[in-house]
Symmetry: C4
Subunit: 165 residues, 4 copies
């Protein structure tokens, strides 16, 4: 985990914290793991993920907000969906669930656990007005998922502007 | 061809595959050529292209979707059209055909072949919700065509937002 | 302060001017401090700021214009608000006041002083069709505030386009 | 002048052509000066410019098209206007004329000459669906004008989307 309250652009390798399944730092470094550690651990546990990534982007924030009422974003028919692990065709419907944001990390981790349980095929989820979580067996796979989701959310957001007219 | 399933940002020169006209690897390297190899070969054959390029961009994906019903995008009256090989004036109408996406590469290659045959003056085409193909006698010319089309598709997409109001 | 009339991209460390509380250059360098020096000094004085930053961005200019009638922009419910010093939750309403632009720096500094006085919790303000001011105890904190405000203004501006439809 | 038909990203200093007032190459290099040489020479002559710059950007192309009927774009009330040479305040109205595009360079140069004559205070002009021209006493000043106009055209274009709703 990255430590809490550090500018990510200034983060140095030696500041990274190794933690155990109870979020205790085990590599002897000082620093408090990021607030969202419980969420990462829950995803690792339920999805068997080797890497979990979290991004705050303009378009993922916008879509997490505009689609709150539906409880998620349906992404369908795009070639780029094939970049998600195990998706062999663009004729796929990916449901990206949206969960309400909360500062109560225990409560939010519980909501995330239920969401992951309910949507077993989901490759990621959005936290409303907060950001995107996705994961992978490896860091490279998780990074690929970020790129795919960010591309598709921007594409859908810009397309939505035309559809709404 | 680039090999299938490799992060393009991490691609090394020694991973590139030389293939023959039957898509067989001839430079003794391992790796499966990208899924879209048949499309590239068809373009090379029908247009006598020395280089074929393919991009997934936000704006080419959006326009390939919004203009599906018309079967293509008409690009007219822009100075940048002069960047397309053999176009001497902005008073030119470029028809950029759109073909439906498919995971059946034989079928898609056939559709592309018919499209190229029907629109002999076209410098590129879009695959719906997938991306842009363009080509050139040389790699530099194909790259120039990518830049021209991407610029014009973004310009037309943003302009369309005003026209629709 | 940076000197007036110098391309910021070409600015060299030895051109930076140290000034006292009366805007007099005290590090023996030539050059006139930027026009907005009085504004910076007022913010330092009223907020006890260690660093004041000012940006001209497309989105801060647009929102400073579109929200003129309300006298400010209300930013609410975004996780990124936690990046503002002392804000512990996304359930926060940040009021970013807008002041009218003026070339009379004494008058503008006076307006700013009144605005800061009236909105004691504000972490920044906009000058209409001009730009954003924000500050911090340290340069790192002021830089973080710029990043947070610019991200949120772009996100809100793009969201507003959907809301208005 | 840059030579015609060369990728600007690959342009080397030794390819630049020195020309006289009749567009003849005088530094003994081969290559044909860019098509728009006559326009540059006309601007140099009428404005006494030391440098003339020309850009094709998405936003300058869009606005040159959307404002054709008015014959120009009025830019008013922005602080960034102070970046234009001789403009001391944001309370300034800059008229950026639009001329119709043409491949007849003699005719286009004539139109530009008349436009410059009619709008003596203009710091630049747009060619419809083509791009922006601006200039300065020095290269640094012309570059500053490009930055100012590109910023303002993008800002106005994005604002226009809200105004039209």
């Amino acid at each position: 985990m990255s430590p809490s309250g550090v500018d990510k652009g200034e983060l140095k390798p030696e500041q990274l914290l190794s933690i155990d399944e109870n979020a205790q730092v085990v590599n002897g470094r000082s620093g408090k793991p990021s607030d969202v550690t419980l969420l990462h651990l829950r995803i690792v546990k339920q999805r068997g993920a080797g890497a979990v990534l979290h991004t705050h982007s303009v378009w993922n924030t916008i879509l997490s907000d505009l689609h709150t009422a539906e409880g998620g974003v349906a992404i369908e028919g795009y070639e780029m969906l094939k970049g998600l692990q195990g998706v062999p065709t663009h004729e796929h419907s990916e449901w990206l669930p949206i969960v309400e944001n909360s500062q109560d990390m225990q409560a939010l981790a519980e909501t995330v656990a239920q969401t992951l349980n309910k949507h077993k095929a989901a490759h990621g989820f959005l936290v409303r007005r907060h950001g995107l979580y996705t994961w992978g067996e490896t860091l490279a796979q998780a990074k690929r998922h970020i790129e795919i989701f960010e591309f598709l959310l921007e594409t859908m957001g810009r397309t939505k502007a035309f559809r709404s007219l």
